[in-house]
């Protein structure tokens, strides 16, 4: 007779990070074994994209990762530009940077809120999601959509920023900077939070790269690696910013060693600060000019044959698009590498044994597992 009992975390469970499920075998209060179960959100994007024209795919790709859709648009556009051999206007690069960083802030705010909420600070989630809405307001002003923007296109961005964009964005950034100490008091400097989060759900440093951990989770493990610096895209090569990484956690006292819930949260909080800095610089340095390459016949593109792999640094980690073209009107293959693919399945399954049931959901939230990028 089985000694362990089974717990399902998800799909219909507050501790599930979206529509996915973890099947846990537990004994007492300890997880013995875990299995990630995905496929609840599978829409067959890659199949659908093979059936659509290059341009028709733009509205499709942004649906792949819901909390941060812009990186999909950016990566897809960059892949197409790469195959086409286009160089996009300078202003468009800066606008892309601004949009991507705004998206990063909104995603991080939500993630930090969810991590805190999964440990019980619902106030943090309420604040985080409430403040994220101000960024969505900016998006609405710029692009017309709250969540899905379809703003970044192959060849640049759809249209220029509105006239009052600078004031709007600066206002929100000022507000966020004002709010940050409150978040710190509530979450990262909260003694109970430190007790719960430090040293829990550790991704060991020596295994992190081998397991395919990327993004903030990798930086929390102690690597100063960021694709915005390694392979600069948009306007990141012209902008000065820092990569927060363990153990340089700035004002947060280092209470843990390595990538645990606490450091992962702290890194995200610090990245928000850096994003604010990037946006301010981009707004200042942004040149005037066109934002979109003049390309006739949007729907009759023929993309030259070839292989292209393009990666962007999303709020969750490396987000890659592998696009293969045979010179036709439709892509042969678009393969999306979501950062959660490794975080959600392999890393979670490996670090789960020995975790407390109470710590399982916070660990999943702090790795920022997003199921739609796993199964697409």
């Amino acid at each position: 007779m089985m000694k362990e009992y089974e717990l399902f975390i998800g799909p219909n469970h507050p501790g599930a990070t979206g529509n996915m499920s973890y099947r846990l075998w537990a004994e007492g209060d300890k997880v013995k074994r875990a299995e990630t179960r995905v496929g609840y959100l599978h829409r067959g994007f890659e199949k659908l994209m093979e059936k659509r024209l290059w341009m028709q795919n733009v509205p499709l790709v942004c649906r792949i990762c819901v909390p941060e859709p812009d990186i999909n648009e950016a990566a897809y556009s960059m892949a197409v530009e790469d195959l086409m051999g286009w160089e996009i206007p300078e202003r468009a690069k800066y606008i892309r940077t601004i949009i991507l960083e705004l998206a990063r802030i909104s995603s991080h705010l939500m993630t930090v809120g969810s991590i805190a909420a999964s440990l019980g600070i619902y106030t943090a989630a309420q604040w985080g999601i409430g403040d994220r809405d101000y960024i969505l307001d900016i998006f609405e002003e710029i692009t017309g959509g709250r969540v899905y923007h379809i703003y970044i296109w192959p060849g640049g961005v759809r249209w220029d920023l509105p006239k009052n964009a600078r004031e709007l964005i600066t206002k929100v950034l000022d507000y966020l900077e004002k709010r940050k100490p409150m978040y710190d008091d509530l979450i990262l400097n909260n003694k109970v939070f430190i007790r719960r989060a430090a040293g829990v759900g550790v991704v060991p440093k020596d295994k992190a790269i081998e397991w395919g951990v990327t993004g903030p989770n990798l930086r929390a493990a102690g690597y100063k690696l960021d694709f915005r610096k390694l392979e600069p895209y948009a306007a990141y090569d012209k902008i000065d910013f820092e990569i927060p990484h363990y153990p340089k956690l700035g004002e947060y006292e280092v209470v843990s060693d390595g990538s645990d819930i606490y450091t992962r949260t702290a890194i995200r909080m610090l990245e928000i600060v850096q994003s604010i800095r990037i946006i301010r610089q981009a707004l200042k340095d942004m040149p005037e000019g066109d934002v979109l390459l003049k390309q006739p016949q949007w729907f009759a593109w023929k993309v030259p044959a070839g292989y292209s792999y393009v990666r962007v640094e999303s709020s969750k980690g490396e987000f890659g698009y592998f696009v293969v073209s045979d010179g036709g009107k439709k892509p042969v293959r678009v393969h999306v590498r979501g950062a959660s693919y490794t975080h959600g399945i392999n890393v979670m399954e490996t670090i789960a044994p020995g975790l407390n049931i109470a710590d399982f959901a916070p660990t999943a939230f702090s790795l920022d597992v997003c199921p739609p990028e796993i199964e697409r």
Binding site: N12, A16, N19, P59, V66, D133
Partner: protein, 182 residues
């Protein structure tokens, strides 16, 4: 008091205390947090999200449904207690929306479970969601939100359709066992 008065009172009360199932079936779930939190605050109307279907009154289908999710959704729906209401969220639940030719998503939710109210859009704005819920409250007040009765009445048909979708093959589904749902 007469029976009708009681049920009228019960309807008035239950419309102001709709508890939702916490189930993000699709990308529409992204607009649920803003609706529930400080910006739009649905708790003003007594709406909160509950952890389990046993405790809840409203099933919110937030977006496209993979067949695998539909199985779970039916399970969740049947575990809820009457009266229960279903809200279809986004274009995908109406006709498949963006994924009209996807092999893995169902195209019309009302074939598989009774939907009381649909919200159009991809994705619907929070204001639209609030409006839909207020309409649902209105319907409950008037006694028009009778999807759960419909599910009992046409249980066999719903069950057959669900089975057809689950098996991915229409020819395999022949007979459906008796029953009237839970």
């Amino acid at each position: 008091m007469r029976q009708e008065d009681w049920s009228k009172l019960a309807r008035i009360m239950s419309k102001r205390s709709l508890w939702m199932v916490h189930f993000c079936t699709g990308c529409g779930a992204m607009e649920m947090p803003p609706v529930l939190t400080s910006r739009y605050d649905m708790e003003r109307f007594g709406m909160i999200s509950m952890a389990t279907p046993r405790q809840a009154d409203v099933l919110l289908v937030t977006g496209y449904l993979a067949v695998k999710t539909l199985k779970r959704l039916v399970q969740v729906y049947e575990q809820m207690r009457d009266p229960k209401y279903v809200v279809g969220f986004g274009s995908c639940t109406i006709n498949g929306g963006m994924y009209w030719d996807s092999y893995n998503t169902i195209k019309d939710l009302s074939k598989y479970m009774p939907v009381d109210i649909y919200i159009a859009g991809c994705m619907p704005r929070p204001e639209a969601i609030i409006d839909a819920f207020l309409k649902l409250m209105d319907m409950i007040d008037k006694g028009e939100a009778t999807g759960w009765k419909k599910y009992h009445k046409y249980y066999k048909q719903y069950k057959r359709n669900q089975k057809m979708a689950f098996s991915y093959r229409l020819d395999e589904v022949k007979d459906i066992e008796e029953g009237d749902g839970k």
